[in-house]
Symmetry: C2
Subunit: 420 residues, 2 copies
Amino acid sequence: MASPVRARPAGVGRNPESPLPSVPGASQEEIRRQNLGAVLRYVHLHGPTSRAELTSRLGLNRSTIGALAADLVASGLVTEEAPTTARRAGRPSLVVSPRSDRVYARALSIDADRLRAARVGLGGRILDLREVARPGGMTAVDAVGPLADLVRDMERSVAADALLVGGAVAVTDTTCEADGSIRIAGVDESLGVALEAEFVAGPGFVAGDLADIAGLAEHIRGVAAGIDDLIYLHGDLGISAGIIVDGRLVIGHRGHSGKVGHMVVNPNGLLCGCGSRGCWETEIGEAALLRHAGRDPGDRAAVAEVLGAAAAGDRTARQAVEQVADWLGFGVANLVNVVNPDAVVFGGSLRDVFIAGADTVRSRLGAMPLPGSREHLRLEAAALGRDAVLIGAAELAFDKLLADPLNVGVTGQLGADDPA
Amino acid sequence: MASPVRARPAGVGRNPESPLPSVPGASQEEIRRQNLGAVLRYVHLHGPTSRAELTSRLGLNRSTIGALAADLVASGLVTEEAPTTARRAGRPSLVVSPRSDRVYARALSIDADRLRAARVGLGGRILDLREVARPGGMTAVDAVGPLADLVRDMERSVAADALLVGGAVAVTDTTCEADGSIRIAGVDESLGVALEAEFVAGPGFVAGDLADIAGLAEHIRGVAAGIDDLIYLHGDLGISAGIIVDGRLVIGHRGHSGKVGHMVVNPNGLLCGCGSRGCWETEIGEAALLRHAGRDPGDRAAVAEVLGAAAAGDRTARQAVEQVADWLGFGVANLVNVVNPDAVVFGGSLRDVFIAGADTVRSRLGAMPLPGSREHLRLEAAALGRDAVLIGAAELAFDKLLADPLNVGVTGQLGADDPA
């Protein structure tokens, strides 16, 4: 809320004393590494780009871009080719393209009721995707074995010179324990150990919350591209959020931010599995929609039916949607007053609920947040669908490569890494 | 909530495509500027520090530190002296100290019912402080004139070689409009124009929300020093928060983050001035405490009396405190589930409410947030008291100096800037 009068003061709010200031003289080698990363990141995000455009976009001179591109070609991360159609006279600028076919990451997802594994190529292209059901009661740790099988299966058909650069797994955030309490599922040491056992020869895995990772994907490649203050709201069995502030994911002190499903919105509401009463999840979760529509709250498949019936004019279904949409807007309004985002993106099963009840959601958001926060607010349906999680996980996995392209490229040989 | 298995992946969540990557080769001049800033920032935050300690803390070599210190001495920003007590044999390491007496910022605060101006020396020392009442109905813009008078008054006694490096103003965040709606007060263009008119010859002013700025002060120099994920909760006429995530202040898309007083916590509660029903402010604001205690809700002076009576065992007062503390814990629990902070700091009038009702607040926070977020949570009373706002404002003002010490130091001569 520090609204600068002249301009946002540089560095305000940054901890002035991060362990060591990032001062120590940047070496030539470090600068080269950063520049390589910048070029690779650019084509990773924007696709094939001419040297001329890279020169202007990155503020580096032509000969530097030429040398960097040559290094990236030599390590097999990009190709350089003459453009297929030269628009102007004179020698055309070479086009730098990410080698999506060769350089890839393993992206895994442990959803509420399914397990998915994908190979995602540099540039964010899903090259291959396998999926199995996640049986009820299977822990995140137990899911690692079946996921590894999917990966092995996919990698049988991978070319000999393919370059694996890392992997990441997205885990749906909460799980009900036997005692009824809700704890963070699996994103802990034991999951790390299990991943390491299966993928020991490969580059390290990172794990993250599913809503965080899907939000990151929408922020990088989806409907929120270019939006730096963002709440991505994910509906699944539960409700959670990926919150992006000033272009950075809010992780929280121990990685538990965004548990918005357990904000209490209705102190007189239903008892939640977490022990509180009236959690947002009890008002906007899939079970709430089904309950209002007179369906079995545990029958996830019926969610689509209820939304379809509402669209077709069924009165009970319509009222169920309205009731959920009203609480959806209510809770988002609270979040908007806390975070003042530029946009709220609705994903997972909340995407369809938002689309079905958009007027009701908008009506709440047109009234409840303070004017300063509601006036510029954008509400968006997620664009990447079910792929968001895998694309986001791949972005996590690519991060190390993009920070230091030549180093990671050399070590990630598939040959040395094949778990079979 | 992305809880990394191995380690927090570097750069995760950072927008991979901030306008231009910060790659372009850092020049020698830039590196020197950064290093000067690092040395000055270190002594600004930690006080007098030996060259030897600076060498080890900043990871720079001895001769570099010597040269940087000499530059800072030459521009009058620090002094270098032999330590008063040499502990070891051999030539003692010179001690670098900020020139708090000479280098200062103007820190202004527009509180709900008072206006304050301070001169804060480098190192965060309040050198001089003036205060007047803010009459009811005075806008933030109208407050600039009286604040300028306070500044002029203070600066009459300033030494001829004093170096003014900037100023900042903290503004209490919301104000009731005539129509009952609540809008952000004054932190807008017109305030900027008014500040410029009064302080035109001086370095630019930045303005920010009072809770943000007080939170920043607690984060930099107060009870939350070293804590990078923090909610600072400020009670005044209203309730707002300064939210710090990963060491950075959450500003929000348009600077309106932290309006937590208008989260609706009790849908069946009282009508709030903002038009919603059951805003957190209606349950934990000063007026709520006074109402429960059977006092005039508008009589701010009675808040201390109620708290005193509660401490002395008065039953009605005690129950009023409990009721407010319960809702205080309730709302904080919601915020904790959203942000997963390391600590929550209670400031302004909420500091005393928290202290009086700590058991009740803790009881809510021991049950409501999910285990992952509540297990490590620290609850703290603010340490800097009323000075927090002025110290925080000075930090904003010092930021430019610390980013580029020699440049700012040269231009901020008081002689050229005296508004008289």
